[in-house]
Symmetry: C2
Subunit: 214 residues, 2 copies
């Protein structure tokens, strides 16, 4: 009879019995769900709610992460890591390709990576919380993307308007704001983000009189 009960419990969705997973696997499972969870409810989300989503006990979380902050650190890393391909700096400075093509390629790929609900919200939450990873990421972005981009622009600028770092920020901000509208403010966005992105890039190039094939 107890066997019958056990079987019925096994068919019950998820609530059945404890399932043992290899530590590595369970750890990943926790992190993956934690990303979705904290991205939705914010960094002050409760560990009990996260555990409920995972279908495990709250105490299990503390078997894999000493503190909640440690778990959040893992979430940050999971989200931040690999968000910036290492080959972009060279591709952005490859002068055998027109600057416009380089900018288009970069922002098409980059936007595809960051216009994602989890990333956008975790980034904003951690930014508001003053997380260190946030500052480091932006510093990194400035070093490997914006600085080279400014140099490339300056070397091609035809108009009398001198490109500054603020121009790069304006280009970047205008594009990123598409994602902010969608995932932070939860507003409808453009059907094809590629279009406004391309337009933003063309507007940028036009300001400095840089032709499309330069």
């Amino acid at each position: 009879m107890s066997e019958q009960i056990d079987k019925s419990e096994k068919t019950t969705n998820e609530g059945s019995s404890r399932r043992r997973l290899p530590p590595k696997e369970r750890r990943q499972q926790i992190i993956d769900e934690a990303v979705r969870f904290f991205a939705e409810v914010g960094l002050s989300g409760k560990t009990r709610d996260l555990a409920k989503r995972l279908g495990v006990t709250q105490s299990l979380l503390f078997n894999y992460f000493a503190t909640k902050d440690d778990l959040l650190e893992a979430v940050y890393e999971k989200v931040y890591l690999g968000r910036l391909s290492a080959d972009w700096p060279e591709r952005l400075t490859d002068r055998s390709v027109p600057l416009r093509a380089r900018l288009l390629a970069f922002y098409q790929e980059y936007s595809a990576l960051i216009f994602e609900r989890h990333w956008m919200r975790i980034f904003m939450f951690s930014g508001l919380a003053g997380a260190d990873l946030n500052h480091r990421y932006l510093k990194h972005l400035g070093d490997v993307i914006f600085r080279p981009l400014l140099d490339e622009t300056a070397s091609l600028a035809q108009s009398d308007v001198c490109p500054t770092m603020e121009d790069i920020w304006n280009l970047h901000g205008g594009i990123v704001y598409i994602g902010i509208r969608q995932h932070i403010y939860c507003m409808p966005g453009p059907e094809y983000p590629e279009e406004p992105i391309a337009k933003a890039i063309d507007k940028y190039l036009l300001l400095f009189g840089i032709p499309h094939d330069a």
Copy 2:
């Protein structure tokens, strides 16, 4: 002797005795400090910490606001209200003034209003929390600012590029991102925001071939 103790306590900064304030005044005092407080630590800030800042007991807060959510509502209203001057719609559509001058005037004033730590952060926190006021504000912005702006732009556009709402969003996002960098990401911003703002506007006009005096 007890009198002496009383006197020494009175000289103690703030921790002395209870000070009776008129309810209206106290309520305003609470709201004002709550704005600063929640803008800094987030909407999950604790009522006890807020009370400590005010130099009153935590229970007093609940004498003025039935729940913490009520207090937050008051904070929202305080921050959101009056952020959009009512006369902007007409000023933006006053065709006796060049569009460039109108845009400059608007964004100079608007940026002065919103590039403020409290507003920026409360807006972002409430946006992430999905607050209704947030959506209403953005809807309002679209109705009374963006829509007219699009019409004005379309009526003056000379180039073959057709202005869309996404172009307005790009102009707006690029400018607002200056404030996001400063107050959300806590990065250094431009010394004079007027300069990059003006440049963003000129870039926008240039895309549609609109001369400065049109």
